[in-house]
Symmetry: C2
């Protein structure tokens, strides 16, 4: 099967502010003041967690429907922790990104816990964003003159 | 060093629409109509690419400043390709997420190509989002009753 492609275009409006276009939609990304930005939007690592929550929602509903139980949405809290030393150019042996990502899901359903554990496992396995974060994904960077 | 934590809270407003809160900011995530949504926002895998672009912008400026060359922003195009079969619950041996992510950067600078290649390598290595996508990151999912 031919791969389905998704694309974005991004322009840097300042050293911290990025305006992203995805089809007709915009994302405003910035850094908080204590990280050198003007705090005009969530920051890149918050966007990463947001992407994961959106994916879990879509796949969560899909899998519940396939498993045949009543499912009335969910609330998701996600937390990630990182050591910013390498990011800021100071030496660190630790990785620069999140060292862990903890997801707490409160599904709105009467389904029993055993079924929900199976559901959560299937959701994680099928969610494209959790695959791209949970497993290595090849990134190629090409440069061209403006 | 103690890890720095970032958090989001997300609520599913429909099977495809997710409203994310990150501090004072909101992200509206949805799916296009041909993927079952109402097209009220970019979709989760577009948000993932957006997060990557925002990170490359911040780190790109930081590294250029450290390397001591004039840098006036950049434009970034990112494309990813995936096979949606597993995502949709149809069997597939291929992974569910992006199989590749191609980044094209057009930096606005007079710096020579050799320096820019070093710059791009340092940016990729230090960007937390490219680390979390490029390398495996442990995700833990916990369930609790609503």
């Amino acid at each position: 099967m031919k791969l389905v492609k998704f694309k974005i275009n991004a322009k840097s409006e300042s050293p911290t502010r990025t305006v992203v276009k995805a089809r007709d939609f915009s994302m405003i990304i910035d850094e908080p003041k204590h990280l050198g930005g003007k705090d005009t939007g969530a920051n890149p690592v918050e966007f990463l967690l947001g992407a994961l929550s959106g994916c879990l929602n879509v796949v969560g509903h899909m899998v519940a429907k396939e498993m045949g139980f009543d499912f009335h949405g969910m609330e998701i809290d996600i937390e990630g922790g990182m050591n910013p030393l390498k990011f800021m150019g100071k030496s660190s042996k630790e990785r620069t990104g999140y060292q862990y990502i903890d997801v707490k899901i409160r599904p709105n359903t009467e389904m029993d816990e055993e079924t929900l554990v199976k559901w959560a496992k299937a959701v994680e396995e099928r969610c494209p964003v959790s695959d791209n974060i949970g497993n290595a994904t090849p990134i190629t960077i090409n440069l061209s003159k403006k």
